[in-house]
Structures are given as C-alpha cells and as structure tokens.
Symmetry: C2
Amino acid sequence: MSEQAIGVFDSGLGGLTAVKELIKVLPQENIIYFGDTARVPYGTRSDSTIKMYARQDARFLLSKGVKLIIAACGTVSSVATELYDSLPVPFTGVVVPTATAAVRATRNGKIGIIGTPATVNSCSYKTEILRQDSRIQVFQQACPLFVPLVENGFIAADDAIVQLVVERYLAEMKSEGIDTLILGCTHFPIIAQAISDYLGRNVVLIDSGKETALYAANILSSQSLLNTSHTLGSCTYYVSDTVEGFRKTADVFLGRSVEDTAIHISIDQLTRS
Amino acid sequence: MSEQAIGVFDSGLGGLTAVKELIKVLPQENIIYFGDTARVPYGTRSDSTIKMYARQDARFLLSKGVKLIIAACGTVSSVATELYDSLPVPFTGVVVPTATAAVRATRNGKIGIIGTPATVNSCSYKTEILRQDSRIQVFQQACPLFVPLVENGFIAADDAIVQLVVERYLAEMKSEGIDTLILGCTHFPIIAQAISDYLGRNVVLIDSGKETALYAANILSSQSLLNTSHTLGSCTYYVSDTVEGFRKTADVFLGRSVEDTAIHISIDQLTRS
C-alpha cells in the first residue's frame, strides 16, 4: 500500500500550493491531483452543493486507489466535514493542521482568519482554535475577491488594486492588533507579500498548504504508509474543464514551470461514477 | 401558444438584467428564468464545457414548454452558437441585437467591446459588427474581474477599487477614441456609471439586456407569438444552487426588490434530463 499515491483535490488549481509543499516534505510520494476546474469556485456556493461536489471529488480519487485523501481546499475542509468519517482511507482537510499551527504561533492570543464566504460562515477554523485554547481572541473576515484577483493575474505586491482590496478586507483586523493570520484558502499564499506588506512584519502568516503537507506526513508515518522508495515520486493531474488552461495557470500555484499536462475527466464521469 | 412563457437562461443571476428589460417591453408575457448558480461563472471556462452547460440549460427550459428561448448571457451567445439551429423554438442570444444597436449608435466608426474572456476570444461581437459594416474599427478587451466585483458588492461609482479596475481595463480603448461601448456581459450594466464616468459622456454604452429584450419582442411579433392578454405576466425563477442566495442577489440585477423566491433544480436533474 505504501507505493500507492496520495490523493489531493481542490475546487480548482489553488490546491496545487499544497502539492508544492507536499513535494518538498515527501519527495518520494506519488501524488494524484484532481482540480474541479469546470465547477470552480466552491467558496461562494451553498453548503449542500459544496458537500455534493466534495463527495464526487473524493469518490474519483478513491477510484484511483489512493492511500490518503487531502482536501486541499479551505471551503471543502470547512463545510464537507462528514468526509472525515465516511472514507475508507485516512483523510485530512486543511483546518485542523492550520489551526494547530496558528495556536502555536500566536504570542498575544489574537488570531485572524481569512477565507472564502463559505469557510468563514462555517466558523471551522475559529471552532478548532477555541477547542484548542478557549482564551484566544479570533477575528474572521471573508475575502471573496481574493480568488478572482489571483486567478486573473492581479498578484503583484505593488499593484494598487491588490493593495486597496487587501486594505479594504484587513483594516479591521489590523486595528484589532492580531499577531497571527491564517490564510484559509489555497489561493491566498499567492498574494502573501501584499498581505504582509499591509499588516507589517510582526504578523505571522500561516499557510494552510504547508501545514497540511506536514500533517499528512505525520498521518502516513504513524500508520506506516510512507513510501520508502528512494526514487522521486510522480505527479498526475486531473481537471474537469479542458486541459488547455492547466499548464498556463499551474505554474503560478506550483511555483515552478510545469512540464506535465493534465488529464481531462468530464463532469458526467464525476456525477455518474 | 402565445400564452406560453418566454424562457431566459444565464450562467447565474446576471441575466436578470435582461429580464428587467423584458418586463418593461413586454409586461404581459410570462417568463421562466433559469440561472445556473451552481456552475457560475461560464466566462472563464473552455468552449466545450460552455456548450455542454448551454445545451443542458436550453433543454431544461424546453421541458417547461417555452415558446422562445433567450440566452441572456454574453458567453453562451458567443460560444454555443449551434443552439441557433438545433432548437425546436425560436432562439436568440445577445450578440446580434447588441451588435446591431452598436453599429447604429456609432458616429466615428470606433466601437469598443468588453466581455468575459470566452466572449472576447470568440470574437462574436466583432464578427457580427464587421459583417454589418466592414469599415468599423473594433477594440476588444476581456474584463474578467468585473463579474466578481459586481457579485461581491463592489459596484459604487465612487469606490476607488471599482474605478482602478475600470481604468486598468479600459485605458487603451479610451486612448483609441471609441464613441460606443458594448457591455457584452449581463453583469456590466451594474457598474455602467463607473464605466461612463471614466470614458466620459460622449461614449454611448450599449446594454445587451435592453437590446435583446427589444429584439425578442420583434421575433414574437413577426411570428405572431405575442401574448395578447391584458393582464400582467408572471415570472418563475429556477436556480441550480440553493434558493437562499436568490432573493438577496436578485434585486441588484432586477433593479427592484423581489418578492418571488426561486425554485431549486439540481445539477443531477439538469445533466440527466
């Protein structure tokens, strides 16, 4: 079983920021990624629709024989929590690993959380943080414009549009004096510089992709599922929209140019499997 | 047949800007609207995915016995052009009515077109304008951030973020001296004031929803399909995501508070019908 792949899914290509971290932490693992690019974004949809999509995504990865499933998507991790109990393989979302890292990082006990509307409405990060330490003060803010900004190339830290949107969403948290901020959506690390420039260097940014990769390594290790091969693992990418857009966008999230192409899996196959 | 409804569909709720105009022009008509809110937006997806979604949307309206179908969506009208020939009832998109109005409106022969990436890549408006008058100079610009701006409430003409994004996208057209601009996406009329403030009062904005409503009235009239009833028609709204978000957002596009609620139609029903 240890040579089987780790399955990672996301509403689109944002989850590749988690894959990037996973490759750093576990270079020998094979990874199968599914990005639901024909139905992205999830974060502004209703809970019932998000749950249905997440079930279909996980079922697709199971059909590929994965040994662990990671929902590298703040929205799915926050809303489709029944996946934790319903899958025949270990599963993790991004909420628990990321909340745990934030609780460790804060010095003044004031943590900010930003995410999609669905993530913030679910209070998933907040609930997990308070479960770990009820004395912490939590400040939440939905940032629905960050995903389209990143997806349309508005990412430069010196872009006045990026700076203004960051200020609009984060002004209140800044005035509250948070010292730790959870980037609760896989797209947000792409504009981390602009966020950090606005909040100042004393505020620690917690990247959900990075923390989740470390957490996944722990799950595999504790269940003796680590791939002990000495060769580098492979990555296989599936997307539900056509594959043309993949290579163009994937490098933004993976942080390197991608020579792989993706494989198309139709919505019909997803909903009927 | 004249008492049957007009069917209108859109990727989401933006097409309600066309319904608003339709109610003004044809108050006695019954209207059935379908908004594919579980899969919005279409404009950044591939052509093959957009065509598949459009076929499913039209099929759903046919199942409701409509006498005319309007694709109140710049993306569908531009990409899924095979709908013109494949439906058993009259069909119109927004491209031909809107291009015709722009050709009539221009005085200096310089027309700008803004829309989603899929609409602009299709060159649909440009092709139709040049078919009508090959001497016209056409300037196109994809504005992918306008839809999320509108959907997330960034619509005030004095909002610095709206103003900066408008300037970023339209600076080149302005310097080219266009005197007519096609708002080639149903969301764009919502920020028409900001666009007009930037381009100046001499530039005429052409609203695809308004022109398409007038065009639809002509089709019905010429085919003797007008509803000759003397009572006001009714509107029935269907959405593919849950109905909770409908009333909250619908009034932005309809320009009045909506007392109706929408009916949910699941993606499963859409894809399997």
